[in-house]
Amino acid sequence: MTGLLITAHLMTPYAPAMAGADIHIDSLLTWAVMQSLPAPVFFPSHSAAVMPCPLKLLWVSDAGHPLWASTTLLPVGEAIMAREYWHKRYPSDRAELSSKRAANTSAGRWKEARVPLGVVTTAQLTGLCIGVESEVHRLLQTVTHVGKKPSTGYGRVAKWDVTPVGGLEIRQVLCGHPVPVDSPIAEQITGKYRPSTGWTPPYWYAPWHCSCITPEADR
């Protein structure tokens, strides 16, 4: 395994899951694994089913959840945050097909929605990891979009660059990646304390959240 610099070249703005939310390299890779081979693995003597990942395994929690050696993806250079809107409308012009033609579109179930969507416009996202270069490169080719709303074109990735880099330290390769305070690695780093946050894929899965320290982005 070698240190790797990951770069995503974006063709459209991307929409983070929530304001300031991160895009994690290990999340993208495990998602890619799941697309091609949806078969979980178990670490010895652990019961949690997790997706394998071609990254260096730094630690396994008592529950069997892995801490992979990877940072979040951060914008390179100019990054402009903006707000777009998408709309959801009741199909009033097709109401003739419905048994009930009246529909209240200002309140209730058929209410029409104007939904704000925070987006970031940037040319590139970059991050670091330690992993198997060829496998990381192969898996990332299947990731065509990052962030929310890929169905409407947000976060379209034109290409991924995977470049070997040497001399990476633990702190560098966990930049922006929450590290459980129970982990011995947490003693080697400083950063922002979060009482409960996701730290292993899938990051959104709240039952696996725990207290973490997040090394700050100082690259």
Partner: protein
């Protein structure tokens, strides 16, 4: 398996397509054309563009479900509001929704029976269907997008570099008369249009596990689309043609699927079960 397809949308009439950022609170001024953000010369600027959300709705959702209902011989007053909303607007969950424990299984059974819902997704009374298969991206073939287009489609760069999106942008002014009795009280309204001849690169990306019938539904939609996009269609605005579609899946797989599963599809729409045996959408 090929998961990505491209085509070019070309306007044969000027396009009117209202901006969603400024348009809502801008009722007295010129209705701006839809804009989206792009990095140009190192700065993020909002330039005229087509909304992919609108493209999904107009090219695919509306077209597929108009044709589906026709083919299944479903007519006026036969659908519940929830089904109507699901087909044409992606659906919405009912108040107090509680997903059943087997929501994933039910969702996939719905997607198995309705390729159009597999393609585009939606929500039923109590849960959201598993992720849709189709991702739509669209870029105007203009100078402002040339650096981005060069990343994936260098064959369109020289065409893109020839013209700025602002060379295609102009305004139209219309008059709404109020009758002879109110002489001098005409209402003017004004909106931006992109010129006829404007071209857009349309990219469709499918999920790796997309079934053949679902892929085929996308082709069927493109072939069946009435060719109108955006507003002011009543006076011809937004008429477009699809060109240079390359290697699209065979549309007959989808039409054969409907022929083979028509009875089940129809009864699932009419009773709100969507073929699952449970009343998902009533």
């Amino acid at each position: 398996m090929q998961n990505r397809y491209t085509a070019v949308l070309e306007a044969v009439e000027p396009i009117s397509h209202g901006d969603t950022l400024s348009g809502v609170d801008n009722s007295t001024n010129v209705r701006l054309f839809m804009r989206s953000a792009v990095l140009f010369n190192g700065q993020a600027v909002r330039i005229p563009d087509l909304s992919e959300n609108a493209l999904r709705s107009v090219l695919f959702r509306r077209t597929l479900h108009d044709k589906l209902l026709r083919q299944l011989e479903i007519g006026q007053r036969q659908l519940s509001q929830a089904i109507l909303n699901l087909l044409y607007s992606g659906g919405s969950m009912a108040s107090g929704a509680q997903a059943p424990t087997n929501e994933i299984e039910l969702g996939h059974r719905v997607k198995d029976l309705y390729p159009s819902l597999d393609l585009l997704g939606g929500s039923v009374n109590d849960f959201i269907l598993p992720r849709s298969r189709l991702r739509v991206t669209c870029w105007p073939l203009v100078r402002e997008y040339a650096p981005i287009i060069s990343l994936l489609y260098p064959e369109y760069v020289s065409e893109s570099e020839k013209i700025s999106i602002y060379d295609l942008l102009s305004e139209e002014i219309r008059t709404r008369g109020t009758g002879d009795e109110s002489d001098g009280n005409q209402m003017l309204y004004q909106y931006e249009v992109l010129a006829a001849g404007a071209r857009f690169l349309l990219e469709l990306t499918f999920d790796e596990w997309t079934p053949d019938a679902t892929r085929s539904a996308a082709t069927f939609a493109l072939q069946s689309w009435d060719g109108f996009f955006g507003g002011q269609n009543r006076q011809g605005r937004g008429r477009m043609v699809l060109r240079d579609a390359q290697n699209l899946p065979d549309a007959s797989v989808y039409t054969d699927f409907i022929t083979g599963h028509g009875d089940a599809m129809k009864s699932g729409l009419l009773d709100g079960s969507l073929g699952t045996g449970k009343m998902l959408c009533v």
